[in-house]
Every structure is written in structure tokens, then in C-alpha cells.
Subunit: 253 residues, 2 copies
């Protein structure tokens, strides 16, 4: 929660810079070696948790805004964010209304307005990412999906909707190019799917279906070392991968 | 295009009633017996074509607004509209800016503002639908996809994005409950898919895949009459259909 002074400072400029009634919130899923986390922001006073979000500059394209906001609030840069849903419940920011309504008169108070928020999501490798403090002294943290703090406003709903969207997306679009090493085994790729879906998949069905999508190239050499029979290595066929991103899988209609 | 008087009348109330900077546009695809059309709106002077759209009341949920707007502008009621994308290019309504900027000073002129528009789409049976005039004297028409007038603003992009979304949706969700008779043959259902996708599908693959989704029930009786061998009749298994709408096809992961 902002202090009265911080609120006054923010509101003095907010109306000049930002389009009213619209915000953007980002759900960044992080994957690394079989572990999936989500990026959440703890406020300076360590009393509140949010998804990283912010407001749209008056003449700014919304995709540019999503990337700027994520960078300003967490330090993450050049992330491919996908728009997935607008949350437009008139009561969705009531918590902020109640929190701030007595600090400033309504006509000077940014947070007594109604806000629609545009949700963006991404799936990145969180290994080696560096998170920085935002302008309010908040700091981002990667938290496991089963170890999330309670999120304010409707941010738990936004997170759940993003996760549902990501899981549905696995049925019609490829995933993993930015998450897997250049060459990987089929069990390593399966682990990515199992982690996102939070369930075990049948090994043979997975392999058959994945090969059927036509987005993998089998390497000529096997992985060396290890006690077991050396497994085949695969890489993504980028041309087919990009085409499937645009048009959905060939396994489609 | 509105006259100066019509613009003044509209702007006098718009700022009081509507949330600024946000609009909603609806893409309604109509299907009937192998023909697919889209609902477009011709203005009173018959000089401009738009998708049916409008603005969000200050305290109105966005889904309610989408339905109200579609009803007010075309007469279509109780349509299941799905949100699919926000269009946020800062220049997307420049055409309206140029059209209206000299008629009223900027501070009284609704149309000199930037608007983000939330796109909603639906697929309905257009047979028997009754279209009515909107408050500006415009009238909706069902037009074939290959016989569309030139749409104003970015409405051609909105329509194309909706069509891409609908086609992608065929890969992971069921479709057709509100479009097919209670009992139908496999070729009739295939015709729906072919019409939406605008391409021929293989008869045997279609049948195998469609049955694999587990959303069809085979009827005990065959269709009577006709010169050919009587075809099997199917109906949708509503329980499985609803589940697949929510979670995607079982054929998924």
C-alpha cells in the first residue's frame, strides 16, 4: 500500500501520462529443468502481493506498454508477451478504491477510478534472470504454483485464466523453443509438458503425437555418457515450428 | 458519417454515460446449410460499412455491454459472444478523428479520443434472424465472406482476427451445437467444418477424428428417404460437449 505522500506524487502525474480506466497485468511463467514458477511482486512493506502491472501511456501501443511495464516493475526485458484476456468486472479494483479513497479527493485520485485490465502472459526460462526493484521499492520473486502467496485484487483469477490459456495452447500450438537446450531428448520435452499440465503423460502416446506435429528434427548422434542406452536427440525444426505457431498444428483440420 | 447535429447530440451524453477510450466491436458469423456469412452494418447514408460496435457504460460489465451493443445496433439478442482480442494501435481510430475533428472542439468531441476496442465474436444460425435499424438509422446485413464491402477503421483486421480465432478454435473445442439440427449426418457436420475452414476435408479422417472426440452419440435409427443408402444420424452428447468446451478435447494432452 502506498503512503499518502507516495499516492499524491503518483496521482500528480498519472492523469497527465496515462490513459484512464485501463491497466495491464503480466503473468510470467518460468520453467527450468522440470520446475515451473510464476513471477509475483511483493510490495516494499512486504504486506501485499501482486502480478506485475501498470498503466498505458496516452499514445503507446498496448504491446509496447506490456513490455515496458514488465521491464519497469521486474527488470525482465525482451520477453514475448501474449495478450490473452481483458478483465472487465466493474468491481474488480474495489479493493484499491477502498484502500485509497480517503487519502485523496476522487477528482485527484487515480485509484478511485474503474480499471479494465488487459492480461498478457509469457513462458520463459527463469534460470539466470535478474530481477530488480520497481519505482515503489517492490521486488519480484519466482514462486512455485503450489506455493503462491495470496494475491490482491483479482490477480488470482488473472493468473488462473493465464494458466488455463497456456494449457489449452498446448493442444494447438508448439511450445518450448525458448525453454529447451538446442538438442534435447524426448523425455526432457515430455517433462516440460507434464510440468505445465501438472500430470503424467503416457510416454509412447507423447512421442507419437509430438513426432506427428512435424516440428522436430531427429539428430544423427545420440547423447553420450550415462548408464542407460543412449537416447535419441531432437531439435526444433524452426520453419515448421513458426508455421505451427501461426496456423496451429498440421494435426489440425 | 454523422451530421454535425447528430454528432453534437451524441457527444452531449456520451461523456456522461460511457467510459472513455474503450469501445466494443462484434463479429457475428452466420451459418446456414453450408453457407457462411458475417454481419456488417451499413450506415444510413449507405456510404460506410462497419462491424456492429459501441461503447461501455460506466458501471457495466464488459460481457453485458457486448450483448447490449449487438442488440441495440442489429436487433440480435441472446447471442453467446466470446471475447477474443483487444485492438490497441494508437492510430486505429484516426479515420474517425479526421472525419469529426472539425465539427466540434476536442474537449466536447468524443471521436477525437483514442479508443481501444475489445473484439467479441459468435457463430450463429442466421436463418430466421430479424435485423432492426440502429439509433443512427443504420441497418445490418448478412454478407458472404467473399463478398464483403470495404470496412472502415480497422474493422477488416478485427474481422480477419476473429476468423483466424474461430478456425484455430476448431482444433481444440467443439462447435456446432447451435448450428446443426438435433440429429444430423456426418457429411452435414463435415460441411460445417469445411465452410468455416474454406477447404475440403477428407471424409474418413474427419469421421475418425470427430468420433475420437467423444462428443457424438450415434442414433439407433437411420435417416429415411433419399436415393442413397440411408446414412447414420448423430446428435451431440451435451455432457461431453460442455466438458470439451471448458477443458478442450480429450484428444488433447
Amino acid at each position: 500500500m502506498l503512503t499518502k505522500k507516495e499516492l499524491e506524487d503518483f496521482c500528480a502525474d498519472a492523469g497527465k501520462n496515462y490513459l484512464p480506466h485501463i491497466s495491464i497485468d503480466c503473468v510470467v511463467f518460468g520453467f527450468h529443468e522440470g520446475v515451473m514458477k510464476v513471477l509475483v511482486l511483493e510490495t516494499k512493506n512486504k504486506d501485499e502481493w501482486y502480478l506485475p502491472g501498470g498503466f498505458l501511456l496516452k499514445k503507446e501501443p498496448i504491446e509496447t506498454a506490456a513490455n515496458r511495464i514488465l521491464k519497469e516493475r521486474t527488470g525482465l526485458d525482451k520477453i514475448f508477451l501474449q495478450q490473452f484476456h481483458v478483465f472487465g468486472d466493474p468491481e474488480r479494483s474495489k479493493e484499491h478504491f477502498d484502500m485509497y479513497k480517503d487519502m485523496l479527493p476522487a477528482n485527484e485520485n487515480w485509484f478511485t477510478n474503474r480499471f479494465l485490465t488487459i492480461g498478457y502472459y509469457a513462458l520463459v526460462d527463469f534460470y539466470g534472470t535478474t530481477l530488480v526493484q520497481d519505482q515503489f521499492g517492490g521486488l519480484g520473486t519466482w514462486r512455485a504454483l503450489d506455493d503462491l502467496p495470496e494475491l490482491r485484487l483479482d490477480h488470482a483469477l488473472i493468473l488462473k485464466t493465464a494458466l488455463d490459456t497456456l494449457r489449452l495452447q498446448l493442444n494447438y500450438q508448439p511450445i518450448g523453443y525458448n525453454l529447451m537446450p538446442k538438442e534435447f531428448t524426448m523425455p526432457e520435452l515430455q517433462k516440460l509438458y507434464e510440468t505445465i499440465l501438472d500430470k503424467k503423460l503416457d510416454r509412447r502416446n507423447f512421442q507419437r503425437r509430438m513426432l506427428g506435429f512435424g516440428i522436430l528434427t531427429k539428430s544423427e548422434h545420440l547423447r553420450k555418457g550415462g548408464a542407460h542406452k543412449a537416447p535419441y536427440l531432437y531439435s526444433f525444426d524452426l520453419e515448421n515450428y513458426e508455421a505451427a505457431l501461426k496456423e496451429g498444428f498440421k494435426g489440425g483440420w
